[in-house]
Amino acid sequence: MALNSLWYCTRQACISLTRNFWLGVASAAMIAVSLIILGAFLLVAVNANQFMRIVESTVEINVFLEDDADVRDLQHRLAGLRGVEEIRFVPKQQGLQELKKAFGERHDLLSGFEGENNPLPDSFRVRAERAELVPTLAQQISFFPGVYKVRYGQEYVEALVKVTRWVNVVALGAVVLLGAGAVFLIVTTIRLSMVARQDEIGIMKYLGASNWYIRGPFVLEGMVVGLAGACAAVATLGAGYYYLVVVLERLPLLFFIQPVTDPNMLLSIFGGLLGLGLLMGGVGSLISVRKFLQV
């Protein structure tokens, strides 16, 4: 009996899909457009997030040492701190080299400071896991023995932390809004296409058809249409994104725009879109039919 019903639903859905081909295509296209917009934004958000993390990873704490500092001991202490990502020891010679590099063509200005005359201290460069940890870490490090001075781009870090938070809030908000918009579009589309069948549903009720008997084919049809739309959306997005990644790779100067290519992340986004299309198609039909079942 259950198998019989499933068979009935499938057959009815197939018949309806072929007989109302254009209505189905229109609905699927609506779903595809909604999901493309949503999906594109998801990709933007994921990339923005990764970009922020890359920027964060450039933030360094400069730890200048006293001349008599115990380098080994300090290294251990730094390594023991929570939230530290990387520690690099910079002897004063190297510090001078880096300063010269920063001076560029005018590095001859520093030529008097070579060797014994080097006024720079040795130092550690410490990278934090997240930019927001930097201020606390810097303060902790400043109390370690043998530390002469701790410096980091305070304003820069504070700005970065704020921007990161903002990007996250805005991205989340936008994804939620767009998601709600997509759901609304899909449900309204299905409901509109259902108005044309309102009479049909009423007639079935008067013939003694149970609610599930009426709903079944509609829901299945909705799921097929939703999945078709989602497939179209995923194909479009996938192709577009792939093209973008390839193009960006060809522009070596845009070093700081490294698109997300983690297959797990991409698969979960695209899979999520497929699921959303299927779900929306099914649930949307279910809700839309419900209204007309009150006979």
Partner: protein, 228 residues
């Protein structure tokens, strides 16, 4: 089979379609429901299979008050009644065959049984050869006969036919009415709302006459006439 006690129906817009009607239809009866246009015949049939709910009064089907029915019992009620609608109400996206088969699918009949019964019924209403046509590809009378076929195919306990011959020529009308009579002889209760005075007069069945929503005459072996 069907009992109505002081049933009234006032539509939402204030039109009193049926007023204080009490009526008893026994199992196996054949009843003509007559009356001028707008008398309340269709409303009365709609009350019986719960398309409409009465404003007051009680309606019993096989001894049970249908106003107390839950959704499942309403389904059962409708499955036991075969209705011919005055406005046909065919499913526009299904072929003639599928429309008739649907009535059997709904009550869970096997596909084998459907394949046997549907063509037989279509033949009896004179629609052989029209199986694959859609409703909008049929003449008015053909659509009406699809409605008749759909009502009788499931061999219901009761047939409610609202103006089932309005779009049929005299010969076909008589055939359809004869068909109802044959079904009635097998024990099915038949209630037919009609304007076909010639047929009513010829068949001499019980006649219930309505006028302005009131029952004005109820006569065994009656003829077509109402009012003063």
């Amino acid at each position: 089979m069907i009992q109505l006690y002081n049933v009234s129906k006032v539509y939402d817009n204030g039109v009193p379609a049926v007023s204080d009607i009490s009526l008893r239809i026994a199992k196996g009866e054949f009843v003509f429901l007559i009356g001028p246009s707008g008398a309340g015949k269709s409303t009365l049939t709609k009350l019986i299979f719960r398309e409409q709910l009465p404003s007051s009064g009680q309606i019993f089907f096989r001894g049970r008050n249908i106003l107390r029915f839950g959704p499942r019992e309403v389904l059962q009620l409708r499955r036991q009644i075969g209705v011919v609608f005055q406005d046909f109400r065919l499913l526009p996206r299904k072929t003639v065959y599928e429309n008739v088969a649907f009535a059997l699918e709904v009550i869970g009949r096997s596909r084998k049984e459907i394949r046997e019964r549907v063509p037989a019924v279509l033949a009896r209403v004179g629609l052989s050869g029209k199986e694959d046509a859609f409703p909008d590809q049929l003449s008015g009378g053909e659509q009406q006969r699809v409605g008749v076929a759909r009502a009788i195919v499931k061999r219901p306990l009761v047939i409610l036919a609202d103006e089932p011959t309005g779009n049929l020529d005299p010969d076909t009308s008589r055939e359809i009415m004869d068909l109802f009579e044959v079904i009635n002889r097998d024990g099915t209760t038949v209630v037919i709302a009609t304007h076909a005075w010639d047929i009513v007069n010829r068949m001499r069945k019980r006649v219930v006459a309505l006028e302005n929503g009131r029952l004005v005459r109820d006569e065994e072996r009656g003829s077509y006439s109402y009012g003063a």
